[in-house]
Point group: C2
């Protein structure tokens, strides 16, 4: 397979690396509006060639669009307009409804598969690419009934080659789910980092004590604004709902502390411990 990756950031470049190493791709072409990223991806051997979007699409079996989610609504229809009835286009965005709406009436809609490989790190750019990023993780395929059967099949083979299992969710359900299991974690982490950084102005030794627990909750606060602002913009309504619930819950802990009701505090901790059932 000849594959084009549009957007050679963490996800696109990690995918490029594994698709080539695992033999699914014969040749990977990179497309990126940043010449520096493209240069870096070539230099690191993540892609084998760099081209303009039109030239790359013309010679590819599969086109993966791996740019920030705000550009998908323009880019995906643009790429679809360039492909024939055998080529396959997929996106890897963290929100699904907006891109699905953008291609709804496109004459080549069937060649598109909306996907979200649930994997990543807090780093970004081609230099953040790592091998085996996707192994054992889950990839969501959305609104698959709108995709041609052969396009869907190729897409499933691609993710299988990366070591992922796939699940299906319609775009709306996907966006709600990820607000809970991903987006809110990022906001909590940004807010924790800001709270402690603010305090650091008065207490400059505060980070001397930062231990493993702090590091794991604040790790996501390193995440890139260029990736995340478009996600929060597109998934604003779901994120707001979850944020309200989170603020309510954390305010409950506050009220219990104020009232010194440590018995209910303990009950809540034991309920939260139930997360052990899910995360091992």
């Amino acid at each position: 397979m000849n594959i084009t990756i549009i957007g050679t950031g963490l996800i696109g470049a990690s995918m490029a690396l594994d698709l080539k190493q695992r033999g699914f791709a014969r040749h990977i072409t990179g497309v990126d509006k940043s010449p520096a990223h493209l240069q870096k991806a070539l230099q690191l051997g993540l892609i084998q060639s760099a081209m303009t979007l039109e030239a790359a699409v013309a010679q590819s079996d599969i086109i993966v669009v791996a740019t920030p989610v705000d550009s998908l609504t323009e880019l995906v229809p643009q790429v679809l307009s360039l492909v024939n009835e055998k080529q396959v286009v997929l996106d890897v965005g963290s929100t699904k409804k907006a891109v699905l709406d953008a291609v709804k009436k496109h004459p080549r809609r069937g060649r598109f598969v909306a996907t979200h490989p649930m994997a990543g790190t807090e780093y970004s750019g081609p230099e953040a690419a790592i091998s085996n990023l996707f192994v054992g993780k889950c990839c969501v395929l959305s609104d698959i009934h709108e995709s041609d059967a052969d396009a869907l099949g190729i897409c499933q083979k691609l993710y299988a080659s990366l070591g992922m299992h796939t699940t299906t969710l319609d775009g709306e359900a996907h966006d709600l789910h990820v607000a809970y299991v991903s987006h809110i974690s990022h906001i909590a982490s940004f807010a924790l980092a800001l709270t402690v950084l603010e305090k650091e102005r008065d207490e400059n030794r505060i980070f001397e004590l930062a231990s493993g627990g702090f590091q794991s909750t604040v790790r996501l606060a390193k995440s890139n604004a260029d990736t995340w602002v478009p996600i929060f913009r597109q998934n604003r309504d779901h994120v707001l709902d979850v944020l309200d619930e989170f603020i309510n819950t954390i305010s409950r802990f506050r009220t219990l502390l104020i009232k010194r009701d440590f018995q209910t505090f303990e009950t809540l901790i034991r309920q939260a411990n139930d997360i052990r059932r899910i995360l091992h």
Copy 2:
């Protein structure tokens, strides 16, 4: 050295393991009000013998009190009343002011060193003990001017043998710092877990998508209530202050989403990214 560990949970038992393996301790005696814990610690080879508190203290050079913080205010004075002018007593609690106040007027005050090795995991009990838990981490020594020089010296050698570096903070400053870099992370994590578990009642597939980012922010929600409720009880005032600041910060993100002010949202994310400076 003969060492007694009172409280054979995660911290006490991990310490026992390393102090013996690294040759600092010749023999470790365990004391625990739970016979099951004591039995387990013996069985796992974490301690070499089990005794009553009085018998254990009588034959030890160093006594480490590693119980939940609410019991320290009684236990540490009790142990101090049993030691002579050569023995050393130290606690390893996550709060320092309460235990320091409890020993303030004790005739053997000088034999006590208040410490907090900043290390741990989300698991508890002797079966959670691991080797090298303390390596490269920071241990806080509080109000060291109240300890005899030789007791302090022995304590510093003990932590050096575990691979820790030490720092000093008075009890009040310690409790404020850990509210920021540890206690608030735990509350945020408990609240996140509860928010998502609550949603799971309606949406039973929600955890299918839980990825690495979610796991790292929610990891601390597995933490043991028996350890943490006493910490929140003792450090209530500092935790409340930090919690208010955290709620304010997260409410700011909420307001920005409501207003669709994504420019300021981006500025806040870039400020939060400054955490990269501290956590590598």
